[in-house]
């Protein structure tokens, strides 16, 4: 078993909730006194498992509880789970940003972590100076950085501005330069948080490619935390699923993602949903907000055929008067990747304090067999003019598309997932 790079044993982390700072002196003294006498932390006992949805009775919470796993050398481990499952805490402990409460992590090789790109960038310094500073913060020596300097500049594509203070950079340039430094880190173990969610699409692709290269060609171990099931499937070899601070599943990346989809993203056949904070992952103004969403013509098990129209009725409530807002929705697959999106005209109106219903009908949806759900947003601006959202709700109503009946002159009754999620209908084919 000499090829193990990371060994996590009995790892736990206790956090104190609420206000930290005042009124803790006596508690601190208590803890300290217990520590001196070699007793257990008196406050550690009252901790409970980390479930943010239910309000706990104590002020202490186990963000991680008895986590055990091993990572082999050259493995690319994807860590997935819902918000608050303990992924970030695990990452922070691995990166030595904070210490565990109990347990240990044994590591073979040098660790570098990328929880954020551009850490320590100073706006007054030039790009060149920041490359050196950031590189050193990430653990590179001056000579190491100097030898890679040209590559870094090349990768970032900001050569022209390398002697300009970074405060004059556009945010895109800033991120490119920051990522470029990180991309040329060469530790044996690399820990990556979802830093890839920045930058433009082309650059993201470049970054993902770079990560793949690093693991395949150089045999480096990578730990990758992500919300994107697609990215995890694409990059990782193995997967670890976290739930309430504990490891809930470990296996290959595909297995872990499938397990997550099957057990956490429960397909349900509700025909109406009252929206709660559970559906909102962004903290937006909610000047206009969603109240309910329902299927107008419910079908059994929300099973629509490829021929059916799908009609939603949404109820909005507004704090302002607007005559120029729009609705938008996207349809997503169960692995959380979007299939497509729609933006309405910016001509909808609502009065202050008013509750108003709108109906949305999708005709000729062209969706292929499979399970989907709706994300919706309300705001101004569209895919062309730039978007400002007042409210975004995710994972609202679920539905399934199937081919109705074998006798219904369908050419294809079985749909392979590798064909994608759209079954084109408006296609003309003729001999010329």
């Amino acid at each position: 078993m000499s090829d193990i790079a990371i060994k996590v044993e009995g790892l736990s982390k206790l956090y104190r909730l609420g206000e930290v700072g005042t009124g803790t002196m006596s508690q601190d003294l208590n803890r300290w006194w217990a520590g001196v006498r070699g007793k257990e932390d008196p406050f550690a006992k009252i901790g409970e498992t980390n479930d943010r949805t239910s309000k706990g009775s104590s002020d202490f919470v186990w963000s991680l509880k008895d986590v055990n796993f091993e990572v082999k050398q050259g493995e690319v481990l994807g860590i997935i789970g819902r918000n608050g499952a303990g992924k970030s805490t695990l990452l922070k402990i691995l990166s030595k940003i904070t210490a565990p409460t109990t347990g240990s992590i044994k590591v073979k090789g040098r660790i570098a972590s990328l929880l954020e790109v551009g850490t320590g960038f100073h706006p007054e310094l030039t790009g060149r100076e920041n490359i050196f500073l950031n590189g050193a913060i990430l653990g590179m020596s001056k000579t190491e950085i100097r030898s890679k300097f040209d590559e870094i500049v090349d990768f970032s594509g900001v050569e022209r501005y390398i002697d300009t203070p970074v405060k004059r950079y556009s945010s895109g340039m800033y991120v490119r330069l920051a990522f470029a430094v990180s991309a040329f880190l060469e530790p044996e173990i690399l820990i990556v948080d979802e830093v890839l969610a920045v930058g433009d699409a082309e650059f993201q692709k470049k970054c993902l490619g770079r990560m793949k290269d690093v693991s395949r060609n150089d045999g480096r171990t990578i730990l990758f935390v992500s919300h994107s099931m697609a990215a995890v499937k694409n990059i990782c070899t193995t997967g670890l699923l976290m739930k309430n601070g504990q490891v809930s599943f470990g296996g290959t990346a595909d297995e872990a993602v499938d397990y997550y989809i099957a057990n956490f993203l429960n397909f349900n056949s509700d025909v109406k949903i009252q929206l709660t904070d559970e559906n909102r992952s962004y903290d937006l103004s909610r000047l206009i907000e969603y109240q309910t969403i329902e299927f107008a013509n419910p079908v059994e098990n929300n099973l629509y055929s490829t021929e059916d129209d799908i009609t939603l009725v949404v109820r909005l409530k507004s704090k302002v008067s607007r005559e120029d807002f729009r609705l938008a929705f996207s349809i997503c697959k169960m692995d959380e990747s979007a299939v497509g999106a729609f933006f309405s005209e910016e001509t909808l109106s609502i009065m202050k304090g008013q509750e108003k219903e709108f109906s949305i009908t999708i005709k000729n949806h062209q969706l292929a067999k499979g399970q989907y759900y709706f994300d919706l947003s309300v705001g101004v601006g569209n895919e062309l003019t730039g978007i400002t959202d007042y409210d975004i709700v995710t994972k609202t109503l679920f539905f399934e598309i199937a081919y109705k009946d074998i006798l219904k002159t369908q050419m294809i009754t079985l749909w392979h997932s590798e064909w994608g999620s759209v079954n084109f209908k408006n296609v003309e084919l003729k001999a010329v």
């Binding site: 060994k7 055990n68 990572v71 990166s95």
Partner: protein, 290 residues
């Protein structure tokens, strides 16, 4: 990947073991040495960022002590008529200010290390000690420049003659004085920075505490002018002997006593030890409380 743990697996050569606690005095100096380039880059960053987009740039290093000295000459020398032991006011105040500034700046800068860098510390690991160390060093550079200014003024009075300045061999102690002072401010700064992560009140205390402490140090008056019970109070201040020794060495007037200096040295060692232990404790999990 396996989710079970084979407890029978034999011990292997782990590069690193992350655990809840480390040994009390384990400073990880080897780690700091590995990051020595970072320390120097922090020093550089401090300088470049402080004086970018200023017209006068590094000249400010001179302006600050000069203006302070002139103010002291007017207020304490001419208005309050405090004794300067018969020395020219200019060189008397400047000597005190040069020394005191180094101590005060290093202390106040290190005391907020955790708070000021919380965002960075929360995202990436590097030996936390590099930060206070870089502050000590960059203030040392600042001190060197201001010390140069002092030397120029000092030489002027020395060559002019008849000013009552009698330098002696104790000048050779200057590096020791600077070192002791640097380490003392580092130790105190580490204690304060570690404690302020939880008790912000201390930052408030320190801000004016340093100011008040200056009056308990013979910066604007000579130790010889203080008699009675207050003398012991001022002698209890470990900075006293350093300022006095410095002045005695360069100017030839002041109180010099090996035992006073030994006291400052002992104080520094204790503070540095305590500071190290506390800093070490806090650095591992301060991100949870800051």
């Amino acid at each position: 990947m396996q989710t079970y743990v084979d407890t029978n697996a034999q011990d292997e050569n782990w590069t690193e073991v992350i655990q809840p606690r480390t040994r009390l005095l384990d400073l990880g100096l080897a780690d700091v040495w590995r990051y020595r380039d970072l320390v120097m880059l922090f020093v550089r960053r401090d300088f470049v960022s402080t004086y970018k987009q200023t017209v006068l740039g590094p000249i400010w290093f001179f302006i600050q002590p000069l203006l302070t000295t002139i103010t002291y000459v007017i207020i304490f020398g001419n208005v309050a008529k405090l004794s300067t032991d018969g020395l020219p006011m200019m060189v008397f105040y400047l000597s005190g200010i040069t020394i005191w500034n180094y101590f005060a700046l290093t202390l106040t800068n290190t005391s907020t290390v955790f708070r000021d860098n919380a965002a960075m510390f929360g995202k990436v690991y590097f030996p936390r000690l590099t930060m206070p160390l870089s502050i000590v060093i960059s203030n040392l550079v600042r001190f060197a420049i201001q010390f140069g200014l002092f030397i120029v003024v000092w030489l002027y009075y020395l060559l002019k003659g008849n000013s009552g300045i009698h330098p002696n061999w104790l000048i050779a102690l200057t590096p020791v004085l600077v070192l002791v002072m640097g380490l003392m401010s580092l130790g105190l700064g580490m204690i304060f920075s570690a404690m302020t992560t939880k008790y912000r009140d201390l930052a408030m205390l320190l801000a004016f505490g340093v100011q008040l402490l200056m009056y308990a140090t013979p910066v604007i008056y000579p130790l010889s002018s203080i008699t009675g019970k207050y003398r012991y109070l001022i002698l209890a201040n470990p900075m006293t002997s350093i300022v006095e020794t410095f002045r005695y060495a360069f100017l030839g007037s002041g109180v010099f006593d090996w035992s006073y200096l030994a006291y400052s040295l002992a104080f520094t060692v204790v503070i540095l030890l305590v500071g190290t232990i506390i800093f070490n404790r806090v650095q591992k999990s301060f991100t949870d409380t800051v």
